[in-house]
């Protein structure tokens, strides 16, 4: 999925024309929505929890450089080796060199959105290392050679029958079965052998605790623990915003993360990794590496408004509740992070020139903000990205600012503002439109509007006229 060939309109049309996308997403997301609502059924408690979550993450951002330094020092003290990567290219190279050092030609991977952001799998394949996705959803889409379509549920777009077909086609010796337990068993058998023989495992990080140098991983399948504890080398990848101050900050943040994502009070597994295997310990990796990725995040951090998006916990609740995402699915966004949060961060990570159109994929209905556990003002951020797209040369802070600047649109809005500040002219134009009745020429926005709706009829007499004529007090 190359960014320079990205045609958002075509992608949306294709997605909307596919009945399977509508069906699979709506069904699955209704389930996730329902579970979240059932868990957070006390509005007051939820409000205070969200306020806490926002405050904790905002405080992290207020001292981000300092906390990252503290995290590095404490990790190193614990024996975790810390690597910094400014670009995804650097991060890929760091991972590859660690793998080469330990002689790994295969790596088992737990779920990591940062690795998707890096395009790590393709990079490793090109360099002779086999990446094996072990999260069930990631395993399915790796077989299908597709990117994830959701932040927490990567294979959300596939139903049971599609999974049955993929397993039968792609897993050597797998029989065709629609039985979910048998499908699970096929994945388990295949993956156990990989876990047993891999020389290195890779994971993401949900929270990295600066105070203790601890990496916290949340998962439901146990595969994450297999990746981080069975092979002799563990590589953890994180975006630099994942740092939190203290161990005490974890309970509210965890509750918000799992509750918002899947409606769970707590996930099945919570891994807290503080060091490689110590003297006398019977298991765990001999080496633990932490790769901290920037990739445009420090630019977001520098902007007092847009840095709000760095509070994101990657729970996916904004996706689950977005009326656009639910209809078009994740692939239509043509980027690693889809939905409202994707539309906010992707144009910042990949540039407005490449992905600025994503910011238009919202009616600004506010459903995303309503559920965001850390109260990111997503609609406000989308509006800001739209304005950045229209920025004048020399203005704007986001990469590719001004790339969507259109003279026609600018002139249209300026003319509109002129009309709106001249009420008599406005009234005259309305009267003219009313006289045309249904003979208004269907061009521009009206033409687009009438593709799916009948044209609105301008009233024979405007409200302003009637106010004057029917004796309403005016001034």
């Amino acid at each position: 999925m190359k960014s320079d060939s990205f045609d958002f309109t075509a992608a949306l049309q294709k997605a909307l024309a596919d009945p399977q996308i509508g069906g699979n997403f709506r069904g699955a997301l209704d389930g996730l929505r329902g579970k979240r609502l059932a868990l957070f059924n006390d509005a007051e408690e939820l409000a205070s929890l969200r306020a806490t979550g926002k405050a904790l993450k905002a405080r992290v951002l207020s001292r981000l450089p300092e906390l990252l330094t503290q995290l590095e020092a404490n990790c190193e003290k614990n024996g975790i080796r810390v690597h910094w990567a400014e670009t995804t290219e650097q991060a890929n190279r760091i991972v590859l060199s660690i793998l080469r050092e330990c002689g790994a030609d295969m790596v088992v991977k737990g779920k990591s959105m940062v690795s998707e952001e890096m395009g790590l799998n393709r990079f490793l394949e090109q360099n002779g290392v086999e990446p094996v996705e072990t999260d069930l959803g990631e395993f399915i889409i790796q077989l299908a050679v597709e990117p994830p379509s959701h932040i927490t549920a990567p294979a959300l777009h596939k139903n049971k029958l599609q999974v049955a077909e993929i397993f039968h086609r792609c897993v050597p010796g797998a029989p065709y079965t629609e039985n979910v337990e048998e499908l699970n068993a096929i994945a388990r058998t295949t993956l156990r052998e990989k876990f047993r023989t891999a020389k290195a495992g890779l994971s993401g990080v949900n929270f990295a605790i600066a105070e203790t140098g601890t990496l916290v991983l949340v998962e439901n399948e146990g595969n994450g623990r297999m990746c981080t504890h069975v092979p002799p080398v563990h590589i953890a990848l994180m975006g630099l915003e994942k740092v939190v101050e203290k161990l005490d900050d974890l309970p509210p943040l965890m509750r918000l993360l799992t509750g918002s994502a899947t409606g769970q009070l707590l996930s099945t597994y919570v891994n807290a990794i503080t060091s490689p295997r110590a003297e006398g310990e019977l298991d765990g990796p001999r080496e633990v590496h932490l790769v901290i990725l920037d990739n445009g995040r420090s630019t977001m951090f520098a902007d007092p408004e847009l840095s709000g998006a760095l509070r994101c916990l990657r729970c996916g609740a904004c996706l689950n509740n977005c009326p656009v995402y639910v209809r078009v699915g994740g692939h239509a966004y043509g980027s690693v992070y889809p939905g409202p949060i994707g539309a906010v961060i992707t144009p910042q990570l990949e540039g407005i020139d490449n992905k600025g159109d994503l910011a238009g994929a919202s009616s600004l209905c506010g459903a995303c903000e309503e559920v965001c556990p850390v109260k990111i003002p997503l609609a406000g951020h989308l509006r800001r990205i739209r304005a950045e797209g229209q920025a004048a040369p020399g203005e704007g802070c986001v990469r590719g600012a001004g790339a969507k600047r259109s003279l026609v649109e600018r002139l249209a809005w300026t003319a509109w503002a002129y009309t709106e500040t001249h009420p008599r002219l406005r009234e005259y134009l309305l009267r003219a439109a009313a006289l045309m009745g249904d003979k208004l020429p269907e061009v521009g926005p009206l033409k687009t509007w009438t593709a799916a709706r009948t044209a609105p009829r301008v009233a024979p007499k405007s409200l302003r006229q009637r106010v004057r004529e029917e004796g309403i007090r005016h001034e």
């Binding site: 009616s363 903000e369 509007w449 007090r473």
Partner: protein, 249 residues
């Protein structure tokens, strides 16, 4: 919402869509206020709230139009707005739009006075009506901003609940946007149309004779889509509906 004290006249912000397309809704809203004993004033210099430009990435033009409204509504006392979307813009987004501008305090003082129409009716005027109409089954579409910004949906529904011959059947996906979103409907027409179609189907499923709302934007989107699909769905602004119920012969 904070409720401005009721002293002197109530100024009415008609919204640009009521002005151009749904003047009956605007007139009904003002007549109801009059009926409830308010002195209503309609400032003639008013126009659009500026939201379309604001949401499209043109804050400069939005500010120009916003200042026009701030000037048109000079004075004191409440400014009532029969639209959750425009009320949200005037009340919550104007101060943001002017956060770093010298006009900030003038704008913020204006925003303080803004109140959504049904919120005003219920929570300031404690309105009650005698329902003279025949039994009818209706459904209610909440605009996203009435639901999530002004929080005025509850007031509108409470008022509807007081009309004794009106049966309200709730939409199964009331929380979901109808797909209008101002310029969104023409900038992302494919997605917008899909959302509008689903909303219309949801409305049909209730078996209601009328769909009511407190936002002319949603009303235009929903009824326009229904007509295009060939469905006979009557849509009405709640103010116009209530005015009809009070005056039924």
């Amino acid at each position: 919402m904070n409720h401005p004290a009721l002293s002197g006249p109530v100024r009415f912000f008609g919204t640009c869509l009521a002005d151009a397309v749904f003047p009956d809704a605007g007139m009904a809203a003002m007549r109801i206020l009059d009926h409830l004993g308010c002195s209503v004033v309609y400032p003639l210099e008013q126009g659009c709230c500026g939201q379309p430009a604001y949401n499209s990435g043109f804050p400069e033009q939005a500010r120009t139009v916003a200042m026009q409204q701030v000037r048109a509504f000079r004075g004191e006392g409440p400014i009532v707005v029969p639209s959750g979307s425009c009320a949200g813009m005037l009340k919550f987004h104007y101060p943001r739009l002017f956060a770093d501008h010298p006009q900030y305090f003038e704008v913020a003082a204006f925003s303080e006075r803004v109140v959504e129409y049904f919120d005003f009716l219920v929570n300031v005027l404690d309105a009650r009506f005698e329902d003279k109409g025949p039994p009818v089954r209706v459904t209610w579409h909440s605009s996203c901003h009435a639901l999530r910004e002004t929080g005025s949906t509850q007031a509108a529904k409470a008022l509807l609940g007081k009309l004794c011959n009106v049966e309200l059947v709730e939409l199964s996906r009331e929380f979901e946007c109808c797909g209008f979103g101002g310029t969104f409907s023409v900038k992302r027409p494919e997605v917008s149309a899909a959302m509008a179609r689903d909303k219309v189907e949801d409305i049909r499923a209730t078996g209601a004779q009328v769909v009511l709302t407190a936002d002319c934007g949603c009303l235009m989107n929903i009824t326009g889509t229904a007509r295009k699909l060939g469905y006979d769905i009557t849509g009405m602004h709640l103010a116009e509906f209530i005015w009809g119920r009070i005056n039924e012969k």
